[in-house]
């Protein structure tokens, strides 16, 4: 594989956002999120609803009030149920967030989390619904590994193209997202190769059900009422792995070196191209695992409708950016978006307070606002200039001078 240098003065996303990534501690993400929610509140008010009531309803729908000791009795039972749903949604968000964050640290912008997540669900539901008779634990492990492999392979396409031809990973991963959608619609649509054999589902575009042996055990709440499955622990364990991999391994060192300056990394003997492939494989693995957790944990089947409305992978971008691409930050940001998703769901949001269909779009708006604010380091610097960023000597701007 011949790797050409990416050209003079390559400025990666990671290096440009380094001010945001390093400076400001937890203050900046908190202010960013608050500001996004504030603007979101204005949108709610413009739609003729009360923003405070709406946010309170979303908050209570998310079940986060379970954390307050003064919530007791029936309220507490309901809060527990809601919190279980929030954490169910949080687990895959952590993983798709990591899929974006890891790429980011290598200077790649992986918008393909959605496609990698989808092929993960496809592989998960296929392997999970076949291999009848496999012992329970083994079946779960095999299925998760299959989903990881599928996600990694899907992301690997973009990695290989980036390394060998320099194809822009933003466009290629988006194309892979849409390809995954149509592949899924074909697989599980009526007459598709993986469509359910169940006579009752002959007119419903849905997959086979995942077998009992491949389902993740529930540890909090009633399995019949969609209690919390162990996926959240899997996600947290992978987060720890992410931290070790990034900060305490040779791979992580190389990834970060390539992320800051691929040319300098090449000069130091680190192959940027090989790292692009490696990083995309790892990212796809994370996102594919997110897909496995969803189909093995609570969905148990894929309807083609789910494929089209799912936004877990796209939310991963906002999760990673808000979490400053760190392990801990990603978990917290995933919890925020999990709560937002669950709190605005049709099941949890009272339509008399705010129409859940509008609220779903509100999630997109808040997500967009957060990403927008994060994109501008100047805003961050304004917020943090005095206290957090040490004064540096003014430096000439080599990227402008080297043009031409």
């Amino acid at each position: 594989v011949s790797i050409e240098p990416t050209g003079a003065g390559t400025i990666t996303v990671a290096s440009r956002l380094s001010g945001y990534l390093r400076g400001g501690g937890v203050v900046v993400p908190i202010v960013t999120a608050l500001f996004a929610f504030l603007v979101g509140g204005l949108v709610v008010a413009a739609a003729g609803a009360n923003p405070i009531d709406t946010y309170r309803a979303i908050f209570e729908g998310s079940g986060l009030n379970w954390l307050f000791p003064w919530v007791t009795g029936d309220d507490r039972t309901l809060a527990a149920l809601n919190l279980q749903q929030t954490l169910i949604l949080t687990a895959p968000l952590i993983l798709t967030g990591l899929a974006v964050a890891f790429a980011f640290r290598a200077g790649l912008f992986n918008i393909g989390g959605q496609g990698q997540y989808l092929v993960g669900t496809f592989a998960g539901v296929y392997v999970g619904s076949s291999l009848d008779g496999t012992p329970a634990l083994l079946h779960v492990v095999i299925t998760i590994l299959a989903a990881c492999a599928a996600g990694a392979a899907w992301a690997g396409i973009a990695g290989v193209l980036k390394a060998t031809t320099g194809a822009n990973e933003v466009v290629s991963t988006i194309m892979l997202n849409w390809t995954a959608v149509y592949v899924g619609l074909y697989f599980f649509g009526l007459g598709g190769p993986l469509h359910s054999d169940d006579p009752a589902a002959q007119s419903i575009p849905v997959s086979e059900d995942v077998l009992e042996s491949a389902r993740l055990p529930v540890f909090w709440g009633d399995p019949e009422l969609q209690g919390l499955h162990i996926g959240i622990f899997v996600a947290l364990a992978v987060t720890a792995l992410f931290w070790v991999l990034l900060n305490r391994s040779v791979t992580g060192y190389e990834v970060r070196a390539v992320g800051f300056n691929p040319d300098a990394a090449e000069y130091g003997g680190i192959s940027a191209g090989r790292n692009y492939i490696k990083v995309m494989l790892i990212c796809g693995l994370f996102a594919g695992m997110a897909g496995a957790l969803d189909v093995l944990g609570w969905q148990f089947r894929i309807a083609t409708n789910d494929i089209q409305v799912s936004q877990v992978g796209y939310l991963g971008i906002a999760v990673a950016l808000l979490g400053r691409n760190t392990a801990f930050g990603t978990v917290i940001a995933a919890l925020l978006f999990g709560a937002l998703l669950n709190g605005t769901s049709v099941r949890n949001l009272d339509p008399t307070v705010f129409d859940p269909q509008l609220a779903t779009n509100l999630t997109w708006i808040i997500q967009g606002l957060i990403v927008l604010f994060v994109s501008a380091p100047v805003l961050v610097t304004l917020l943090t200039r005095r206290r957090f960023i040490p004064r540096r000597k003014p430096m000439p701007k080599p990227e402008v001078m080297s043009g031409g």
């Binding site: 739609a47 933003v170 290629s172 007459g191 779009n361 994109s375 100047v378």
Partner: protein
Amino acid sequence: MSTTSDARAAPPAGAGGQPGSRLRGRLARVSRAAWFGWGGVALGLIAFYITLPPILVRSLIPSLLLAAVGLGLAAVALRAGEKRVGWGAVVACVAGAFGAYGAVESGVTNLERVVVWSALLAAALRYATPLTFAALGGVVSERSGVVNIGLEGMMLTGAFFGVWGADVTSSWLGGVVIGLLAGGIMGLLHAVFSVSLRADQIVSGTAINFLAVGITGFLFVKVYGTQGTPDDLPEIPDVHLPIGWIPFIGEALEQLNLLIWVALIMVAVLSLFLFRTAQGLRLRSVGENPLAADTAGISPIRMRYYAVIASGSLAAMGGVFLSIGFVHSFSQNMTAGKGFIALAAVIFGKWKPGGALAAALLFGFSSALAQRLPVFSPTTAVLFQALPYVLTLIALAGLVGRSRPPAADGIPYERH
């Protein structure tokens, strides 16, 4: 790489001279081995073409012979080190042989229903038009040095406000104007963040896309509820030309939507503007070397603002065509990645309006074909819809050669 010639690399004498001499100069730089490679590509395509209507060769042997000769030419090109075009020829020949096999195996009636060249051309133009507008927006923005990942969102904004404007003003022209304004405002937002606040343009563009999905979805639910957009929306009219008697071209171009012609005209206008006017030169200079442009008295900030706002309006025009010129309704997230295909068309077309149009036509053709292929297999119909995305991916991987973006593309400019 000799095939990746570029206007900027042309000798100064050619730049001011006749177009003919410029073309000859470019062709002279294509090596002989590369010619073999291009010959291989052509033979691969011909191998497929002869099995289709109107020629309809019903035997595989001529196609296989052509593909084999093409592979031989590809081998010559590869030996001489022309890797890219050589591999392109290999891909074309293998694909051509497979395509020919598929055509020979399928029934003549099916083939004649799918491959109606004039109808395919008309459909390709229809599918290409949203991409062309958005790609032109991308060219303008990136030539000024601002990467516009937000094309998708600006297009979606145009699609919604086109419908809303047409509905409110009861006139398609109102829809076009309001759609353009809305797209321009999204462009302005992108400009504020990427130019003034020196945001990372890829991240802020992604934010624009999310915002557009949210804002259009929110307004769509709020204004039209669950019933969807009204059936009696004003539509952008078609242009009837009295050229139906000309075979093929006449049949294809006889009746096309007004905006399709506008898109084609815009390609020419933008080409002239960017490469033949002083303002166009200024815009490009800001994208190549903003510091030098600033020194010469051109404000990179102002230029980039103009370019990004224009880019938003152009992308929105594509969305307006999509909603009130093509499908006559709006649905949530209806652009479905077209903005990103347009972005690929910008890269594939080497940041030139004409190149972007050619790439958009290629992707549009694949969409048109995908619409007709289900005749062969209704169960795999939905899979064919992935064709434009897969083709974009392949094109992006580059059969034509690595293209070079404007030097300052994506780099925020900071005044000292």
